[in-house]
Symmetry: C2
Subunit: 282 residues, 2 copies
DNA sequence: GAAATTATTTTCGCAAAGCAAAAAAATCAA
DNA sequence: TTGATTTTTTTGCTTTGCGAAAATAATTTC
C-alpha cells in the first residue's frame, strides 16, 4: 500500500539513477530526505559511513547531504557522530499547522473524551501506518501505550487502520495485503491477508470498526470514517476504552452515534478547509 | 538567537549563491526543505508561484523541488495547488524516536502530573521558540492552549523559555534579545530586552523560572533546567497549574523540590543516551 | 469572445553535485 | 611504537540541476 511512486530515493546501484533522471527531479533533495529518515530509535547517532550504508548513498554524497543539513541546523556533528536536531520538527509542524486541526477537529475529539472518558483521536493512513493528527485523552490511566500527534501505529492493528484500509481502492488494498503476514502484538492481532480482507469487508458493510485487544491487551477501540464532500474516506476518528470494563454492545450503543455525529461535523468542517482531504488519497 | 549559520537557503539574488558555493553544500536540498517549511497555518495550499514567492526561488526551481517532493510522496498536487502530505511527519518522527524520550523522560513527567495534577513537559530551544519534546497532562481542563509533542511557544513567553534563554551563552542571548520587542500575549508578557535580561539573570540566580499569566491568563508555570554531565543546560522541564488556584509560594514550596529531583533523574538518564544533549547547543 | 494579464512549463548555457577511485586520516592490533 | 584496517576527505570527470528568459497555457478583464 505504499502511496509513494516507484522512485527509489536511494539506490544501491547508482547506475539506476539514470533511468529516473527526469529533467524535473532534484536528486539532491531526495537523497537529503533519505538521510534524515535513516535516523531512528535504533540509530540516534550515526557516523558518515553508517548513514551511507543505511541510505545506499556513496560516502561522498552522504557527506555532502550531512554537511548541508548541518549548515542549515537540522543536524549536528559531534566528534564523528551525526545527530538530528530539533529543527527537523519544523518540517512536520509545517504540515500539522497547515491542516488547521486545532480549530476544526480538536474540539470534537475533546467533547468525545469528556463525554465517555475514552481517548479519542483522528488519524490518516500513511504507508502501512496510521498517523495520529489529533488526539484527546485523559492521561491519568497508566496505560503503556501512549499516543500523541505524529505518532504511528501499524494499520492492521488499529481500529482506524481497519476503517482506512477498508475504504482504500481495491488495487491499493491488494498491494497492502500482499505484504502480509503482518506482525502480531496480541493473540487477537489479525496478521494474514484473508483475515484482514474479511475485516475490511465487514468494516465497509457496518460503517465502523470495533477492535478488542488487538494492538495491546486492555484496549477496546471503535472507529468510523470521515468523508469529504464527494464521499471519499480520507481520515478516521476513534474512541478507545478499557476492554475489561466495556462490552462490545455497550461500546456500540453508547459511542457509535456520538462518533458518527462527530465524524459528520468534522467532515463538514474540513470541507471548508480542504487541505487535509486533498493531502490524502491515492 | 538563530542557531542557523548564515547560509540563506533562498536568495533573491542568485549572484549571492556563488559566495557560499562550498564544494560540500547541496543547494537542491536546502531549497527543498525551504519549500516544505514555507507551508503553514496561513498557507495550507500553495500554487507554484506562491511557493516561489515565499521561498525566493525562481518558479523553475520551485517547480523542480515540488515535483520531486510529489514524486517522493511528501507533497500532493491538486489541480494547481500543492499541499503537504502526512509523510512529512516521518521527518520529525525520525528525530523524536531517535531521542528515546518515551522511555527516559515520559515516566518522570507523568509522575509529576499524577502527583500535582499539573501539566508537565520537557522542551528544548529551537530558534526563538521552545519546542515540546514530551508532555504529560490531564486534559480534562478546557484550557484554550493545548500543547503536544512538536508544538512550539515563543521562548520569551514560556517558563522553560526563560530557563533556556538564561543559560544561553552571552552572545547567543544577546543576538536573541536584539530581536526585541517580542509580541505580547497578556499584560504580563515580557516584551523588551531589558526586562527579559533581568528575568534571565534572576532565573540563573534562582535556578528556576516562575511565570504567571504570561502566555495566557490562568497559567502559572514553574520550570527548571536539565543539565548534561558537563553541567551544560540543554533542556528544561516544567509544571503548569491554574494561576487562580495557586499562589507563587505554594507553587515553589510544593513543586520545586519534585521538579529538581525529576530534572536530575532525567539528566542522568539522558547522560547514558546523549543524543538529545548532543543535538542541542550552540 | 478577444485582449491583456498572470501563471506555468520549456529551453539552454553554465555552474553544481554526482560517482568512482585515490589519498589522507583516524582507529585498531599487536 | 609500528603496521593493518577502516573511515573520511579529496580529486577528476560526467551528469544533473540552476537561473534567466522565451514559449505556452491559463485567468482575468473588458
Amino acid at each position: 500500500m505504499e502511496n509513494v511512486p516507484d522512485r527509489p530515493a536511494e539506490s544501491s546501484r547508482p547506475a539506476d539513477t539514470r533511468g529516473q533522471a527526469d529533467r524535473e527531479f532534484v536528486g539532491g533533495l531526495a537523497r537529503g530526505l533519505a538521510v534524515i529518515e535513516c535516523f531512528g530509535t535504533d540509530a540516534p547517532e550515526l557516523t558518515l559511513t553508517e548513514v551511507a550504508a543505511r541510505t545506499g548513498l556513496t560516502p561522498a554524497t552522504a557527506r555532502r547531504a550531512l554537511l548541508t543539513l548541518e549548515a542549515l541546523g537540522y543536524v549536528r556533528q559531534n566528534r564523528r557522530r551525526f545527530v538530528l536536531r530539533s529543527k527537523v520538527l519544523r518540517l512536520g509542524a509545517a504540515y500539522l499547522s497547515s491542516m488547521n486541526l486545532k480549530d476544526l477537529v480538536q474540539p470534537q475529539l475533546q467533547a468525545l473524551n469528556a463525554r465517555f472518558g475514552d481517548a479519542s483521536s483522528l488519524t490518516v493512513l500513511e504507508g502501512n501506518d496510521v498517523v495520529y493528527l489529533a488526539h484527546a485523552a485523559m492521561e491519568k490511566r497508566e496505560r503503556r501505550l501512549r499516543q500523541s500527534v505524529g505518532s504511528r501505529l501499524p494499520a492492521h492493528a488499529a481500529s482506524t487502520g481497519h476503517v482506512l484500509l477498508a475504504h482504500l481502492p481495491d488495487p491499493a488494498r491488494a498491494a497492502y495485503l500482499a505484504q502480509a503476514p503482518f506482525p502480531s502484538f496480541t493473540a487477537n492481532t489479525p496478521t494474514d491477508a484473508a483475515t484482514l480482507q474479511a475485516l475490511c469487508d465487514a468494516t465497509r458493510a457496518n460503517g465502523h470498526a470495533l477492535v478488542r485487544d488487538v494492538i495491546e491487551y486492555g484496549v477496546l477501540a471503535l472507529a468510523v470514517p470521515i468523508r469529504d464532500a464527494a464521499g471519499r474516506v480520507f481520515a478516521a476518528i476513534n474512541c478507545s476504552a478499557d476492554s475489561m470494563r466495556t462490552r462490545d454492545e455497550e461500546m456500540l450503543a453508547t459511542r457509535l452515534p456520538a462518533l458518527r455525529a462527530a465524524a459528520n461535523e468534522i467532515g463538514e468542517a474540513l470541507a471548508r478547509f480542504p487541505a487535509l482531504a486533498h493531502s490524502t488519497g491515492i
